[in-house]
Symmetry: C2
Subunit: 378 residues, 2 copies
């Protein structure tokens, strides 16, 4: 049935920590199934040879019983199973096992050799700070809203926001290429408006268009943004795939900082006993795929993340990871101006505050609202 | 603050049915938040004008109290919010609200005008049947395994499987472009082996390579597959994004049937009170994006889908949906040969049985195992 084959791998492996529900016996059985499911997809007794069994099948490195009926299991996989491709890394990490309940990816430990196959953040925290001439303070971000506005109205808002001292003005992630607000016209007008404001203020505000788009159009839109003078890009890998972000980050023609948006990714984190941890989904994976900043909903806003989950994202955004630079956490999701002092205590200065609605609400004068926001941080 | 703008939309809307946890009061409050979150991302009182409020914000069409502390809510959105782009359709459907607990997308109702913006299945059930010269019977599919095998070994297996009468031989979805099994060599060898078997048997077996790949390489790999003689393509939108499948389905140079693989998508369905329903994720969305067949784990296998969930997928794969053809459900995930008669009762004849491990296990003679499998169905 199986022709002979020989396999000699490097022996280098990467490690994935999973939380599995169940007592030790159940968790061990789940872990053994994971080792097969994520690689050979055959029962162990049907494997054709020892090379596959010994080198390809995942290996349980440690298994620890946790309180509350869970176990912590570390499984290692040969780096060659990934073939240096990000979609396949995601596949080995959690592909088929996402279909089984009671399994959560908690953290990734990738060796340097594997990390070097991916671009990582081109700018990182230091790159943003240099671009914005803001060596130390927290950064200010807001969004152009609401969907339904014309490019002219959004450009007018962008001008006011840039005049008031906002660092980064992003498209709301609901702005795509709608007939009432076509991508190219919006980007050209908003980039021009921000450049005009910068020439008046002497500041370095950056306009960040949203480039989640049909597959064959994403690179074109990013290149158009660059040429129009946009200073960064916003993309939602939940809508278009993580590897597209990797592609944009690696493209020397684009060479703009990239911000990750979590749209459609929420389901992976919302239950503690399944999916992917906050640290991996919003920290490690965006960073691996080349994000320079990662948006997530802050604790105490209109979403349900806890303080501890936010802390884990921040740690993953800056923890040692090969030669990758730390990236910025972008604190969002119903943020208010009055919470900024409390959040400075929690986050320190290496953070981007993304305030949307509350910036429009504070007073009828948007420029003044921005100046007020900026004054809290300066 | 907001410059004047005017907006005149067509009035055509699409409908999304959500299940929301909570009693009527809580569900209504969640539904109102959804209407804003998925569109304007501003509180209602901050909206700048009636055009946006009346035409862009989602509208609650119906709200019904269900047993067990849930409500069924239908929300409609203007078709223009999508801008005829699939990533943005996903975004309006569930983008930010995926980050909130207690919300599940249950079904989509898209008007014909919006459906016509997407290719839909190029082949559908009828196309597969014509290609395989199998007008009525259930179809047989299996996978080349295990990861770690060389292209030569996999081609040898493909030859045996095709000789035995399998209709479709797919790459295991763990086969990517690993150094021990590079994509191009594998595809060339396996396509040749299947063609050779077909020339001997007179059958029409199809080889189906897995084309989930780095973003800039997917189309090239699909074109290579076509040119090498592969008869269909396998892709996992959870790894590379749904829109890539739409791109492949729409490309006249490729023009091959496409099979959807659920890798990494499982988390969306595993909890009944969150995520996306089985019918939408494995039925409506793949079909909208151009899949001709959709793989999912069958009830009673090594995954945890129920009989009712499987029934819903089958219905969504064939229910009226604009001019889209019905697509095949592909019953997989620990399927065994002995269950085929039972499953024929449940699924009828319009189904693809994907049997992996059990086909290798049945006896040491793989060709005979395939003939046995085929004999059950003929």
């Amino acid at each position: 049935m199986f022709a002979p084959t020989s396999l000699t791998l490097s022996g280098e492996r990467f490690r994935v920590r999973y939380a599995l529900t169940g007592d030790e016996t159940e968790a061990r059985s789940k872990a053994e199934a994971l080792c097969l499911e994520q690689t050979v997809e055959l029962p162990a007794e049907l494997l054709p040879d020892d090379d596959v069994r010994g080198q390809i099948v995942g290996q349980i490195e440690t298994l620890k019983v946790l309180p509350e009926g869970r176990c912590d299991v570390v499984i290692s996989y040969a780096v060659e199973t990934v073939g240096a491709e990000l979609p396949q890394l995601l596949n080995v990490l959690f592909g088929n096992s996402s279909l089984k309940p009671g399994i959560r990816v908690m953290s990734l430990d990738l060796p340097e050799g594997l990390l070097r196959q991916f671009p990582g953040p081109r700018f990182g925290q230091a790159g943003w700070r240099s671009l914005l001439d803001a060596p130390e303070r927290p950064l200010l971000c807001t969004a152009l809203k609401p969907m339904g506005s014309s490019p002219r109205r959004l450009a007018d808002l962008a001008y006011q926001l840039a005049t008031g001292g906002i660092d980064m003005i992003k498209d709301d992630h609901g702005l795509a290429n709608q007939p009432f607000c076509p991508y190219h016209e919006r980007v050209a007008r908003c980039a021009e408006a921000v450049a005009r404001a910068n020439s008046e203020t002497g500041l370095n505000c950056v306009y960040m268009p949203h480039v989640s788009a049909p597959a064959e159009k994403i690179v074109e839109r990013a290149l158009f943004a660059k040429q129009a003078g946009a200073g960064a890009l916003l993309i939602a890998p939940g809508l278009v795939g993580f590897d597209v972000m990797r592609q944009l980050a690696a493209d020397d023609r684009i060479a703009l900082p990239i911000m990750y948006h979590p749209a459609l990714h929420g389901t992976y984190v919302t239950r503690p006993d399944q999916g992917i941890s906050h640290a991996v989904l919003f920290g490690q994976l965006p960073r691996l795929a080349g994000a320079d900043a990662t948006i997530y909903p802050n604790y105490g806003g209109r979403f349900a993340f806890s303080k501890e989950e936010c802390r884990q994202i921040v740690e993953a955004a800056a923890a040692p990871m090969g030669g990758f630079q730390p990236i910025f956490p972008v604190v969002a999701g119903g943020m208010t101006l009055e919470r900024v002092p409390e959040l400075l205590d929690f986050y320190g200065h290496d953070v981007i505050f993304l305030i949307g609605g509350d910036l429009y609400r504070h007073s009828p004068d948007l420029v003044e609202n921005c100046r007020y926001f900026r004054s809290i941080l300066d």
